[in-house]
Symmetry: C2
Subunit: 352 residues, 2 copies
């Protein structure tokens, strides 16, 4: 019997369900309802054999350069990984080593706590205010780094850039990670601050706005020194994290900006219509800037609604956690999907 | 300025060069010279949009099942990752936590030391004997786990299964990882021992024998308890490490066993011919069971040969390390590539 002291003890993150049936309406993992750019699919059909038998470029140069050009930063400021989860995990491992407490909100992306536990990082969860806002002055205490999403998840609330900057500028000795998984759907990016603050990391993902969750691409941008340290840790973990297919299709996605802007526009438009309809049905919610709405009904229990929806093959997300157990996180799908959701909710609420 | 105490200090692994020119003969990273199965390429052309916009199956069930069937083990004994480097890194993080010294050979895959440093794992390098053999009795001391490749890299030497078993059976309380990246090219796998020893992990890769280095697929097999702990750590790092494209093309590769056997047969045949030719040119080498030969010339310096080859666009690998600096690691390519290598060496040796 292997001694238990050999094992790392963890409580893993539980991702939203990925049902295998095709006839469900899937509004539970903040995926994009639209396909990726046509260029992505075309790129796939032109992949050649050498892309398989040879190792990919360990520096991921083509994708790094494409992203750097797109954001108008130099390429020494860009780091790419297997989804932003990989990028964030790598950042935790690389930047949170002082032993001092790392700070993040109490209601936020649940993976932060999991990574901190995995890597034995000391941390403190900082409560949001009663309206679910991040309060910058709460992040001025001594710490070993800070991480928060903007817009925050699962609330959808965005922080204005001057408040984000307040947190960054007051913590010059520690790394501040702004997780912008949802920024394309609303809010002002902290990317404009990367050249001014040497302690800032901004993370992004291809999984939401770029419709490429299945391909696993994420990235971050920051000061050259931070990116260089991050690369050293990455090269101490796995030289080749990105497949040649991910690199090439990622480049194709970034190149097609007009399609990207168009689908993001459709989703934000659908989101605003959905807000009105949910309000009419008796829901309240923080005013989301993301591709989901975090909604609470004025009468019917969230778990009951969650189960009723699921029985009707509409998947949303419910977190059985303090402060947020009355809420459902509903991803913005196509117009038709939202209509189906709203029709069901209307009927269900009338009859219950 | 960010305080240095926030950063993890590492000395990263340096992978072999991936030159971007297409006119080089690339014998430096143990890639397969043949393309993957036709089924792999066909699978790619049938990938649909949903594979991109949705998250992949976090359990990677289809690929896990296909691998389990192929090896005739149950699927709770199989774990899949982004190349065997990802799988091995995850194993180090998961299984080497006791604080006791982890043991591995002094001449071996250079990444073991890098992972140990990255995760702050205590370790001791155990010297190979003077003929580069692993000596099982050296692995009986108290330890916190053991890892070695079989066949070993960069020597290519395989250990008979009874000696591998000696190490496993004498360390029941600690995890023993047998890294079988090259086993398809020769030697007897420890896989037959997985059902008998609860402390054994056997790792494999799609990057060598399966010609899929570019797609990043590796896996390991072991006792259900070990695989379950490993999965908990993986789900604490990144829920979705494997892209949908990797999952589907991986399945296609495993399904086409006759093609797989055929290319592995061609490579081992070329290897044996190359051994004869190298001997005729004055090289000596351990008798490799892998897809490379670790060769030393009786007169000409290895670094000199390395540079001369590189100038002629033939890339091999040279490690400037104690005990092995006189050797070149030469990957087995196609018959034509080996002919070009041998022709060059013949001429060069005659003239120097």
């Amino acid at each position: 019997m292997v001694s238990k002291d050999n094992f790392r003890q963890v409580v893993p993150y539980v991702p939203g369900e990925q049902p295998k049936e095709n006839d469900v309406i899937k509004l539970n993992t903040n995926e994009n309802p639209y396909p990726p750019s046509q260029g992505v699919m075309e790129t796939l059909s032109h992949i050649d054999n050498a892309s398989f038998r040879k190792y990919p470029d360990p520096d991921v140069s083509d994708l790094v350069s494409e992203i750097a050009d797109y954001h108008n930063v130099n390429k020494e400021k860009v780091f790419v990984g297997v989804g932003s989860d990989d990028v964030l995990a790598m950042c935790f491992l690389t930047f949170f080593n002082s032993g001092r407490q790392v700070l993040f909100p109490d209601i936020t992306y649940a993976f932060y706590k999991v990574w901190a536990d995995l890597f034995k990082i000391n941390y403190r969860e900082v409560p949001l205010d009663e309206d679910f806002n991040i309060v910058p002055s709460d992040y001025l205490a001594e710490n070993g780094g800070i991480v928060f999403p903007n817009p925050n998840a699962p609330t959808g609330l965005v922080m204005p850039l001057d408040r984000v900057e307040e947190i960054i500028s007051n913590n010059p000795n520690n790394v501040v990670i702004v997780d912008e998984a949802y920024i394309d759907f609303g809010g002002e990016s902290a990317l404009s601050l990367v050249d001014r603050y040497s302690n800032l990391i901004v993370t992004r993902t291809f999984s939401k706005s770029r419709s490429m969750a299945g391909m696993r691409i994420g990235y971050c941008m920051g000061n050259e020194k931070l990116i260089s340290v991050l690369n050293s840790v990455k090269f101490s973990y796995n030289s080749y994290t990105m497949s040649e297919v991910a690199i090439k299709t990622g480049v194709a996605s970034v190149k097609d900006d007009s399609y990207f802007q168009r689908i993001v526009g459709k989703i934000t438009e659908t989101r605003e219509k959905t807000k009105e309809a949910l309000t009419d049905l008796g829901f309240t919610f923080p005013d989301s800037s993301a591709n989901f709405i975090f909604a609470k009904h004025n009468r019917i229990d969230a778990e009951q609604l969650f189960n009723a929806l699921k029985e009707n093959k509409i998947f949303v997300r419910h977190f059985d956690l303090p402060r947020i157990k009355d809420y459902l996180r509903i991803t913005i799908g196509t117009e038709n999907e939202m209509k189906a959701l709203l029709d069901f909710l209307k009927k269900y609420i009338e009859n219950n």
